[in-house]
């Protein structure tokens, strides 16, 4: 479903990704770990098409099409979803209205009829329950005055509503207490249906106790330096990223 081949990309003339490869098949869960500043968020942004990121080399194929050629919203229509590390506020726009527009924009692209207000409300209520947000959150402005944990759960709620084929979660676990972490993990696990794929970006192994990845990749210095199964995450937890060598230790402190 997603094939990344030799991806080189830079921000502000600074090369961040330096030949990254990744192959994700339907239904797989891939965890991406790595030190701060390794380029994990950058990868999420490039895949979702954020402006300001320059791809100088390499290809990305998504459902057999050239992903890098698509507009941001087109990628979303094709099923790519990014749960943000730092969700932004949109004051005055209710979560509910925002999500309804969003769900229907995507349905329209898939040739499905738009959901009516009642149909949507029903789904939204279920999704809220699943991530343990009270229904008030549907009425409130998008992320407006939400706590860190509420923002993260709100991202998962959106993911559930949009039914994407590829979910990229950028540190959806950071800043969460253990209860919230489980809520997020349950939200994700409920969406694993054998077809939907996940890229779980995380700094800690903790989340992976709850979401069992098929593969773990260590991203450092703009490349995947090590891949393995879930046990790799445990190693990292024990030993830190020190085993990555000299130049990466430097990145860690940056």
């Amino acid at each position: 479903m997603l094939k990344i081949n030799n991806l080189h990309a830079s921000v502000e003339q600074k090369e961040i990704l330096k030949g990254l490869n990744l192959d994700i098949k339907p239904g797989e869960v891939h965890a991406i770990m790595g030190p701060n500043g390794a380029g994990k968020s950058t990868l999420g942004y490039i895949l979702s098409g954020r402006e300001g990121y320059e791809v100088s080399e390499g290809q990305v194929e998504f459902h057999g099409e050239d992903l890098l050629d698509m507009a941001i919203e087109e990628r979303a229509h094709k099923g790519l979803f990014l749960a943000f590390q730092y969700p932004v506020e949109i004051p005055g726009v209710s979560n509910m209205a925002f999500m309804k527009e969003s769900v229907n924009a995507i349905r329209e692209q898939r040739g499905e009829t738009p959901l009516t207000a009642t149909e949507f409300l029903k789904k939204a209520k279920e999704a809220c329950k699943q991530v343990q947000l009270s229904l008030d959150f549907l009425k409130r402005g998008v992320n407006e005055g939400f706590s860190g944990g509420e923002k993260k759960r709100n991202e998962i709620m959106q993911m559930i509503l949009l039914e994407p084929s590829l979910c990229i979660l950028d540190e959806s676990d950071s800043g969460l207490d253990i209860d919230a972490l489980q809520v997020v993990a349950n939200g994700v696990n409920s969406q694993r249906d054998g077809k939907r794929s996940f890229i779980i970006i995380t700094h800690y192994q903790r989340l992976l106790d709850y979401i069992k990845p098929d593969y773990v990749h260590i991203l450092a210095n703009g490349k995947v330096v090590k891949s393995g199964d879930a046990s790799l995450a445990t190693d990292v937890e024990k030993e830190g990223y020190a085993f990555l060598g000299q130049d990466n230790a430097e990145e860690k402190n940056a």
Partner: protein
């Protein structure tokens, strides 16, 4: 990104078409003779003509104001035609069936199907085309309730005592340059009278359309709400897309007697000119209400059109405990310039006012809020709250805020809050990542910013205002 935003905002002006209607139009020019001819076309009584001529003489002695934060070449008042009316209107059609179908089609194209409006919507409409009122719907039903809703030109004939008593009582002939000009040459507009204790059974609305070239529109609206009465009034405006600037100088007067309430809403969408600033309406408007004891006026405006907007709907809070509200959204883009705000003049005790102003600037436009809060010496315990928010889209536009506060009473409280924010890349990215196209994303963000004002609009207008900003279902499902 700002280019993408600009594109998203530079939508076409849908109301820019011209109707092919045979009109009787005066040659450009302004002198006493022109005023006599306007008065004669309307078969006005002598007192009305005299009133106009006095206003004209006031105007001749006045200077065009220059304090507003707007720039435009000097207006040549002699190059404007002061009267234009569809020929078919000369026979004074008595019902919709007698109105020229081409005129009805014009309103239909603008989304105001007068027939259906009459049948379904439950909104009474007065449609003013250039200098005359084309039709006023629902009149019979309103008359049953004792409500008068008719063109002001008709009120001059039918209700001369009311017109004589109240015309110019809130905005005097010599109030300001544009009000004086309007008083001299006004051609039509709406007249509303709500008798004592009556709640107007439906929304009243007037739809202004400028069609003819080189023609100014000078409408005059007078609304009188007697003791304890209630009315909600809506006003909409559009004009064709033309290369020349056209002048629109209106006067609106509201008389709100003891315990009465008027809610006055405007969606102004005059042609704003093209992206280079060519063409567009110059909109110079004086709107004012006088509030007696316990009376309440609420002005809500959504201003998206016009090359230049100069407009300060105001409240004179004369009676004790009277309330004034002003809710405004002003959107400027391209080369538009808006200088708009309000004046809250607190004279009575315990008078209260609220001002919520939302300015959105995009492109190369300039958006100014100008507001005066005056607390008179006798305004014991008076209160004002002002909130003034600006939203910038891109970095070539300007937002300016000029709050003036005059307080002559130490017990009066004035609060002012102001913010400036930008549509951020992060917000746009979030919206697009969730599948919205950039156009939708901007309108969504802008809509959210305007929420506090939109919720003040009557339902039908909230929808129109939403569409105007290319906005979705927000609000109706929120």
């Amino acid at each position: 990104m700002s280019e993408q935003l600009d594109q998203a905002l530079s939508r076409k002006y849908d109301a820019g078409f011209v109707s092919d209607i045979e009109s009787e139009t005066f040659l450009p020019g302004l002198d006493e003779d022109v005023i006599r001819r306007i008065s004669a076309m309307k078969e006005e009584p002598e007192w009305m003509l005299e009133w106009r001529l006095r206003a004209y003489n006031n105007w001749l002695d006045m200077e065009e104001p220059e304090w507003a934060h707007v720039h435009y070449p000097k207006i040549d008042f002699k190059a404007i035609s002061y009267y234009s009316a569809p020929k078919s209107m000369a026979d004074k059609p008595q019902s919709l069936d007698e109105v020229d179908p081409e005129l009805l089609r014009t309103y239909e194209k603008l989304g105001i199907p007068l027939y259906e409006q009459e049948m379904l919507a439950g909104v009474a409409v007065d449609a003013v085309f250039d200098s005359v009122s084309v039709v006023t719907t629902y009149r019979a039903k309103l008359e049953e309730a004792g409500v008068i809703f008719c063109p002001i030109s008709e009120a001059v004939h039918k209700y001369p005592e009311l017109v004589k008593k109240y015309l110019g009582s809130v905005v005097p002939r010599s109030d300001n340059y544009f009000a004086a000009l309007n008083s001299a040459v006004f051609t039509d507009g709406s007249f509303v009278f709500i008798p004592k204790g009556v709640r107007c059974p439906m929304e009243l609305s007037t739809y202004f359309r400028i069609n003819e070239e080189n023609t100014g529109q000078f409408e005059r609206t007078l609304i009188i709400a007697e003791e304890g009465s209630h009315v909600s009034y809506l006003e909409g405006c559009t004009a064709p897309q033309r290369d020349e600037n056209q002048l629109h100088a209106a006067v609106v007067e509201l008389v709100v007697m003891d315990d009465a309430q008027i809610k006055y809403s405007t969606v102004q969408n005059w042609y704003p000119g093209d992206e280079n600033g060519k063409g567009g309406i110059y909109n110079f408007v004086t709107k004012r209400a006088i509030c007696h004891t316990n009376a309440k006026v609420s002005w809500t405006q959504v201003e998206t059109g016009s090359a230049i907007t100069w407009k300060y709907p105001s409240c004179i809070l004369k009676g004790d405990n009277s309330v004034g509200e002003f809710y405004s959204v002003a959107l400027t883009r391209g080369r538009q310039q808006a200088d708009t705000g309000t004046k809250m003049i607190h004279l009575g005790k315990n008078t209260r006012s609220t001002i919520i102003s939302k300015g959105i600037s995009a492109g190369n436009s300039n958006n100014t809020y100008r507001g005066l809060v005056h607390m008179g010496a006798k305004a014991e315990g008076a209160r004002n709250f002002t909130q003034c928010d600006s939203l910038l889209i891109g970095d070539r536009c300007g937002a300016h805020t000029f709050p003036y506060i005059e307080s002559r009473n130490p017990s009066a409280i004035v609060e002012h809050e102001a913010t400036t924010s930008k549509v951020s890349d992060d917000q746009m990215f979030l919206c697009q990542q969730r599948g919205l196209d950039p156009e939708k994303a901007v309108s969504m963000i802008v809509n959210g910013f305007c929420k506090e004002v939109f919720k003040e609009l009557p339902m039908e207008f909230a929808v129109e205002a939403g569409k105007l900003l290319e906005i979705s279902l927000e609000g109706s499902i929120g």
